[in-house]
């Protein structure tokens, strides 16, 4: 009787775990999810949000937290700005990339650097979720957990493969939008970026995307 009770307790404990576990989806379900995300992505002309970035540091047994703001506009415009604890601005505007750290400012022509081309393209497509259908860049597996869809992207290209073992996107299944990005490095460190206060299709000052 005692053993039965123990097994019953164990089963009870496992039930919430089972309920919270990620559920795999069928290929057809995955296609439907990706289509919905793509449709939403196509309807996004502009987007702005705040973000919190948490970087795990395995070697030091500690974390580094930074905060910032993101602005996106259709037509290859992205501003990724860290506001604390350091100031750093990264802007993509068409074929130009601008990086500003304190008094140091670098402007690079994306055409002159394949690496920057890739970085710019992947950042843009990750934020909107368009990367989910880009089979050249990633092998995508989707699962669902509660009201979230989780896309696991395994890099296929050499440059990304050298840095990341996977990129996980957390997608709000009601809004069909990315709310969290998790970069898993080959070293074991992870970087989690939570997007908050997301606003879409509002007016964004063009000055925010200036590179000069």
């Amino acid at each position: 009787m005692k053993h039965l009770f123990k097994y019953f307790l164990l089963l009870l404990m496992m039930l919430p775990m089972a309920a919270n576990a990620q559920k795999t989806v069928t290929s057809a379900e995955q296609q439907t999810m990706v289509k919905k995300i793509e449709q939403t992505a196509s309807s996004i002309k502009s987007m702005q949000c705040t973000f919190k970035q948490e970087k795990s540091l395995k070697l030091l047994g500690d974390n580094m937290v930074s905060n910032g703001k993101m602005y996106f506009k259709q037509g290859n415009k992205l501003r990724w700005e860290y506001t604390s604890p350091y100031s750093y601005i990264f802007v993509i505007n068409g074929q130009k990339v601008m990086m500003k750290n304190g008094s140091r400012k670098d402007v690079i022509d994306v055409k002159s650097s394949k690496l920057f081309q890739e970085i710019a393209r992947i950042m843009m497509s990750s934020i909107t979720g368009k990367c989910l259908s880009d089979k050249k860049d990633f092998k995508v597996t989707m699962t669902k957990k509660d009201k979230m869809w989780i896309a696991k992207l395994v890099p296929q290209k050499k440059e990304m493969k050298a840095m990341f073992s996977a990129i996980n996107l957390m997608i709000d299944s009601e809004k069909n939008m990315v709310t969290q990005v998790s970069l898993v490095e080959k070293t074991g460190d992870t970087t989690n970026i939570q997007l908050k206060a997301i606003e879409t299709n509002g007016t964004i000052d063009e000055k925010l995307f200036a590179v000069n």
């Binding site: 540091l57 070697l59 030091l60 500690d62 905060n67 604390s84 604890p85 350091y86 990264f90 070293t187």
Partner: protein
């Protein structure tokens, strides 16, 4: 009295010159804005350092959190190990120079030989600059003050 005060000042001055350039603690992470320039190329980011069980461990990441390298300095053996070095720096001849430079930054006291063809400066605010004149590499570290975390 005057001689006594002079002696105390000299003692403090000598202690100060024996402290390592980059500071580290055992119970918390020290953070620096960092820039490493190799000729025209530059790597900007954050340097995080901590004393873990007597070993000084650090990581240099860029602002996006992408790692450039991990380092560990053994104080007793005066040796630096590098791990997880970013591809463009992962050459034995680059790592050899970087290891020696990091040791210079973390050593409590550098000899004349260890500072040969290097210029190391530390400001009262704790900003550190090391120039390796032989290989034209410059390291600057500025303490990150705590904003909202």
């Amino acid at each position: 009295m005057k001689n006594c005060l002079l002696l105390i000042s000299l003692l403090f001055a000598s202690l100060a010159s024996h402290a390592q350039a980059l500071q580290y603690d055992t119970d918390s992470l020290r953070r620096y804005n960092s820039t490493i320039t190799f000729g025209k190329a530059a790597l900007t980011g954050i340097c995080l350092i901590k004393d873990v069980d007597g070993e000084v461990r650090g990581t240099i990441v860029n602002e996006f959190g992408i790692k450039a390298l991990d380092f560990a300095y053994d104080k007793r053996r005066d040796k630096v190990k590098l791990q997880n070095v970013i591809k463009f720096m992962d050459r034995w001849y680059i790592k050899k120079v970087v290891k020696a430079d990091i040791a210079t930054l973390l050593r409590t006291e550098n000899t004349e030989k260890q500072l040969r063809r290097r210029t190391l400066t530390v400001t009262p605010e704790g900003s550190v600059s090391l120039t390796n004149e032989k290989y034209n590499i410059n390291y600057t570290f500025t303490p990150l003050t705590d904003a909202t975390d």
